[in-house]
């Protein structure tokens, strides 16, 4: 395995990692990156763990608010309406 910290290609791809993940890299760079990764286990791992990090955080999205929180909003809006009227 080559020295990941000293490798200029690894450095370059780390800077492009988000664009690679989001599918926003030029095809030529994607190809270059993927050829590089064949022999770079560390870059493979970085790509996989970045993807997993994003999946984990996506799972933390709030799905619903507690009923009392919803009631608090509606009460605040009613107070606003009452003031206006």
């Amino acid at each position: 395995m080559h020295d990941h910290k000293e490798c200029t290609e690894c450095m370059q791809f780390l800077e492009l990692l988000s664009d690679y993940h989001d599918g926003e890299l030029d095809l030529a760079l994607v190809t270059k990156f993927e050829v590089h990764m064949i022999d770079c286990e560390r870059c493979q791992a970085v790509v996989k763990t970045l993807r997993q990090t994003i999946v984990y955080y996506g799972e933390t999205r709030c799905k619903a608010v507690p009923q009392e929180v919803h009631s608090g909003i509606m009460n605040a809006i009613r107070a606003c309406i009452d003031t206006k009227e």
Partner: protein, 199 residues
């Protein structure tokens, strides 16, 4: 009367602007979880998030007559919410939040550890320990990077809409997102490398 149709946000906004408060209530129901989730992640505690959430919807209700319908309601409400969160953070001096200030690149270096923890079967299931770790690390992000990460990767909003919500350029959004992602990936990698196994 039971409503059998599923009105669009635009229809609800139009009705609400005409004085139909129930329509505004439906908009609240539709968007409150997103706004609450954003407030929790930005303000770091449920009480502040709840206060901010009320503030956001009251502001939206009051500002509805000036809402320009070429924008999506969701974009508009996120914009109000992000402004409200950042104002509160500025007031409380929890973070440095200038959206124009240069970013610190501290974590944007070659990762020290790249063990592949994605193959850990336990890691596919969110649990309390992992949830706590995720919260601690996202809280460690500077607010200006955190808000971009929350909008893009937690809420799944596009780069273009995130830029619109925050009043940033697309390259600025991408740059902040990239740094936030590297920071969080590195922190999680360290967590796994240090034996913080998820039971």
């Amino acid at each position: 009367m039971v409503e059998h149709t599923n009105p669009t946000d635009t229809e609800l906004v139009s009705r609400a602007r005409g004085g139909d408060n129930d329509a505004f209530g439906l908009l609240v129901e539709r968007h409150e979880a997103n706004v609450y989730g954003l407030c929790i992640k930005m303000l770091r505690n449920p009480e502040d998030a709840e206060d901010c959430l009320q503030e956001v919807f009251v502001k939206a209700y009051k500002a509805l007559p000036s809402f320009r319908e070429e924008a999506r309601f969701s974009t508009w409400i996120y914009r109000i919410a992000t402004n409200a969160c950042l104002m509160r953070i500025r007031k409380r001096k929890l973070d440095t939040v200038s959206l124009d200030q240069p970013l610190e690149l501290g974590e944007a270096e070659i990762p020290r550890e790249v063990a592949d923890w994605t193959s850990d079967p336990a890691s596919t299931v969110m649990n309390e320990e992992l949830g706590g770790v995720l919260t601690r690390h996202i809280n460690a992000l500077p607010a200006n990077n955190r808000i971009v990460f929350v909008l893009r990767d937690v809420h799944g909003i596009s780069t273009e809409e995130t830029a619109d919500i925050l009043g940033l350029s697309i390259p600025a959004v991408k740059s902040r997102l990239h740094r936030a992602r590297l920071f969080l990936r590195e922190r999680l990698a360290q967590y796994y490398a240090s034996g913080g196994a998820v039971a």
